[in-house]
Symmetry: C3
Subunit: 141 residues, 3 copies
């Protein structure tokens, strides 16, 4: 049983490995979003990214939001189309992170943001460097 | 003859190698262009980059265009100054790549763009990560 | 005396090393600033970065300025709040670098900029790639 379980595990891993090998190394990328008027564009870029690598689970994609752009994600006032796009991305495994400094400046707590965010406690810019130093590529559309 | 050819080849390579060593590692960089009002500025940056590393052939420079900025490169409506700058860069070896998703959204084919473009088939954002994961630096002016 | 001096030096280094180890690798990051209307925002990001890593000396942070944004740093016309923010960052060890091409285009010499700048002689874009190829992360807020 254990042997079969391990074989099953390796089966899953080798399928993923074969897929990764056929497409190059799995992508890891941190998106940087600060401008309020760029939110919908960047969410569209993220969806294209998910689709472009073959669908959910095929890349490790993070979005770090700070500055004016974070206002778009306040739950109380979020635009319906934007929210739908964000929810779809979060379900697809994209990690949404909010800058703690911006949250403080905008007077909000995690519960005030769309569900699915985590907090970048040291700030969004520090977090984006942490991610790059961990091997993530960087995109600032 | 073959020996001379190989020697000649090594002569070229070692000259390039010596130049690279004297200037640090050869630069490899992917430029990211999405904003229509930023096209001329970025083409100027690219020319400064070519000149700054010592002229054509001294660096591997790619430009990935997606979003509204791609409209500037539609052959039928391209601005004359912009076209001249782009042609000069392409002749200098800068690689111009257009996002397949954007081309579809704008209803154009490769023939509708200025000559010299190639297509980023998985999309511009995926391509920019591929380039970074292959060792290219990233600039988004 | 020499021994004590060396021991003291190692004491400083090991304290810094222990701090770096407890926080992950020390951050090295190059900020890219080109837009005039983004100067104050980016200076705020830089201050948050200095604070977010634990204060001055905890990260190697560079700011490369080119294009229209450099006008904000002309000494003769610099805004007082902007200057105060820049001076504070320079005192905190952030390296300010001005693009030589932009300086030429704006008709200024190093003495015409706020004190503390150095010149990126091959141009700002080439410098930003040099920094990335030396291991610096990249941020373009």
């Amino acid at each position: 049983m254990i042997g079969a379980g391990i074989a099953g595990l390796f089966g899953v891993l080798s399928a993923a490995g074969a897929r990764a090998a056929s497409e190059g190394r799995q992508q890891r990328v941190a998106y940087h979003l600060a401008d309020l008027d760029r939110v919908l564009f960047v969410l569209g870029n993220l969806q294209n990214h998910v689709d472009g690598v073959g669908g959910p689970g095929q890349a490790d994609i993070r979005l770090v939001v700070h500055g004016p752009a974070l206002r778009a994600f306040h739950a109380i006032s979020a635009d319906r189309n934007m929210s739908a796009a964000a929810v779809r991305l979060i379900k697809a495994g994209v990690g949404f992170e909010a800058c703690a400094n911006t949250m403080k400046a905008q007077g909000i707590k995690l519960d005030d943001l769309l569900a699915g965010f985590t907090v970048a406690e040291k700030g969004g810019v520090v977090r984006l460097v942490e991610l790059q130093q961990s091997g993530f590529a960087y995109l600032r559309p």
